[in-house]
């Protein structure tokens, strides 16, 4: 048993342990942190397979970004854990059935001839670069899925903005666009105000006012 095999079993054991804790942890926050651990140790396994770009992308994208989002959601949800555990026995048969289905599927797929236990990983030369191989394929042979990925990202972007963006009425916001576009006519209104009256006429007016009130 060489060093790589030892490392594989180490990473695999940590992954399985972390994945188990994800579903058994009482506190959802702990579950999320264990999921992070599972991702990191999976990245270790991918690194052992010489898939270095994928391993680093897993850490960057999943651990760095997706799990932050998970933490936000868990914090935002305001979950009552006692309430969540209520229907455990009621839903157990359905959950068990789903688990059995997934188990059968996995055995089916992993037991296929293409992925039998006899196949071993291909040994590559020292200067082999998984990133280069990926690059050669993604942008030429798989160009349509690649562009569809861009469209998916665009849809996600628009959907996220449409769902969550709302303007708050109570904040004073500076809109530079509007400020620049504004014209003189929009802001300035010229009113012709009669200049000050003569003193006599004011007194006359006062007198007539008096007369009115006297009546």
């Amino acid at each position: 048993m060489n060093f790589e095999t030892v490392l594989f079993y180490l990473f695999a054991a940590v992954t399985v342990f972390a994945a188990l804790r994800v579903i058994t942890a009482r506190n959802p926050l702990h579950a999320v942190l264990f999921l992070v651990l599972a991702f990191v140790s999976s990245a270790g396994i991918w690194m052992l397979l010489e898939a270095e770009f994928l391993a680093i992308a897993l850490v960057l994208v999943y651990v760095g970004a997706v799990m932050v989002l998970f933490l936000f959601v868990v914090m935002m949800l305001d979950i009552n854990i006692e309430q969540l555990r209520k229907g455990f026995w009621q839903w157990l048969p359905l959950g068990g059935l789903l688990a059995a289905l997934i188990g059968v599927q996995m055995v089916w797929v992993l037991g296929a001839d293409e992925i039998s236990a006899g196949t071993t990983a291909v040994k590559h030369a020292a200067d082999y670069s998984n990133t280069k191989e990926l690059g050669r394929l993604i942008y030429t042979d798989y160009v349509y899925p690649f562009e569809i990925a861009a469209v998916l990202l665009l849809v996600a972007m628009v959907a996220a903005i449409a769902l969550t963006l709302r303007k708050r009425r109570d904040t004073k916001r500076q809109d530079v666009n509007k400020q620049v576009k504004v014209r003189r006519e929009d802001r300035v209104r010229i009113v012709s105000v009669p200049s000050a009256r003569q003193v006599e006429s004011v007194q006359e007016a006062a007198a007539s006012n008096h007369g009115h009130t006297a009546d």
Binding site: E52, H124, R136, Y139, A150, L153
Partner: protein
Amino acid sequence: MLENYFPVLLFIGIALVMGVVPLVLGMLVGPHRPDEKKLSPYECGFEAFEDARMKFDVRFYLVAILFILFDLEIAFLFPWAIVLKEIGTFGFVSMMIFLAILVVGFVYEWMKGALEWE
């Protein structure tokens, strides 16, 4: 190839030891005389008064989602950059289309004001 990553493994190992050993040492060697006050949750000088789980502004969520999307976008740039000479004009154009589609989204969110906090 894997030999190149040995320093990283070493680093992870040392980081684990550095993190775990002080905790274990403190647990084994330090005195344990807990009382009610010591075990109570501490919140900067006053009573802890509410649950840690509170409602966030949904705006944080929006920023996180936009970050993930652009994070993915740059993840696609790395393999492209190192094989650009081999895949030629076709590869270049395919990446430009990819970027153009995402720039549409970028312009949209800029115009909508999703990048501003208010």
